[in-house]
Symmetry: C2
Subunit: 238 residues, 2 copies
């Protein structure tokens, strides 16, 4: 009996050449590609990244996972997409679900993965994270030696964000557009405005890097994919 | 006047196909490749990863950065390698320094970067981290939604490690071979032995994954490249 399989592929932060060789090979082999689609932006960033690698006869299915739905509604969408993918796999096809960045970090893919029946063969491929791309782009290291690095999203409670900012760890603050005025005030309070950096849409055509946050206004309208890095010991002047 | 340039390339955790397309292109273009060499293992893991992509006429210079030297001795080695690389770049060559994993996270490359004269053109390329590869391999997510993720090395003071283990964040504990009996005791104390996973040499031929730490003895002799992941909410049985 012929059986298909399912790839969960991380396609990196935006540049097509930041996709791994393994992901390129898997995409070329895939017959049905599922891609998350944003109604807000009217496109699929993940899909645009892998466009150069898609074979002409591959079928593309974009699916929308809205961000602010309630839990039940979210769960229903995840169940529907899992059902579709499982049906494609059971019909013998090679199927992929692509995720921006890494497939196992803040990715819709994980919500699908935990709903998959156990008999579906699944292979997961890691991707370059936005924060690794940002560190390379700006020559601003994430962590060295005995330093620790904490990653959190700015959708977290502000007390938790203050706890992180007032601490000793290096930080990655993802989704910086959420609560930016509050986060900006905290960076000011702890004298980190000129130590931190902010990058939007890393490695995409709309990429924008701000090396001194004091140049921004606290009311700045940021892109959804904005990330703040704080390395507490790095001297930017170097 | 012809000028060379310097690439700082992250080559990922071990599998040649977990190298990015950009890194492959840069390696093919590079005339002099600097690679860290371990006297302990007698080889360069980073170099073995990119072997399929090296052009036959590229020059390879392995350099040893011992781990336990004192600060002054370390600094001297870094200065020497920087001097060599700068000389190669100034002679007009395309030069690369390759790092295991990501180039900007716990990498010798950063110690070289901060010593480079400002007139040297530098381009840095991110790589897949070991923990992303481990999460994909084991189908064990790093973090979701409002969870935060903390990354630290087991060379940190044990009180700091206990503070992390007793906390609420998901964790990546790198270099798990250091202080493993102490870390094992902490995982036992906080009832995390069966929630955590441990992977050595992720995506390399010697890869080994342990999905239940209670199967290991606290005196287990681990490989240097061993990493523990703790996702506090993930149900492994799924």
């Amino acid at each position: 009996m012929t059986r298909g399989k399912l790839y969960g592929i991380g396609v990196g932060p935006g540049a097509p050449d930041l996709v791994t060789v393994r992901a390129v090979n898997q995409i070329k082999e895939t017959e049905v590609i599922y891609a998350p689609f944003s109604k807000m932006t009217g496109k699929s960033v993940a899909l645009s990244i892998i466009e150069p690698y898609i074979e002409p006869n591959s079928e593309i299915k974009t699916r929308t996972f809205a961000m602010n739905y309630d839990k039940a509604e979210k769960g229903e969408i995840w169940n529907d997409v899992v059902e579709e993918m499982v049906s494609d796999v059971r019909s013998g096809k090679t199927v992929a679900f692509i995720s921006l960045g890494d497939s196992m970090l803040y990715s819709t893919w994980v919500s699908l993965l935990e709903r998959l029946p156990k008999d579906i063969p699944v292979e997961i491929t890691p991707g370059i994270t936005s924060f690794s791309a940002i560190a390379s782009l700006t020559h601003y290291p994430l962590a060295m030696e005995e330093e620790s690095l904490k990653i959190l999203a700015c959708s977290a409670p502000i007390a938790e964000i203050e706890n992180a900012i007032s601490g000793k760890e290096n930080l990655v603050l993802m989704k910086a557009s959420i609560q930016f005025p509050e986060v900006y005030a905290l960076l000011e309070k702890y004298h980190l405005l000129d130590q931190a950096i902010l990058v939007s849409n890393a490695s995409q055509s709309r990429e924008k890097a701000v090396m001194q946050l004091s140049e921004l206004s606290p009311s700045e309208k940021l892109s959804y994919f904005s990330t703040i890095l704080i390395n507490r010991s790095w001297k930017k002047s170097k």
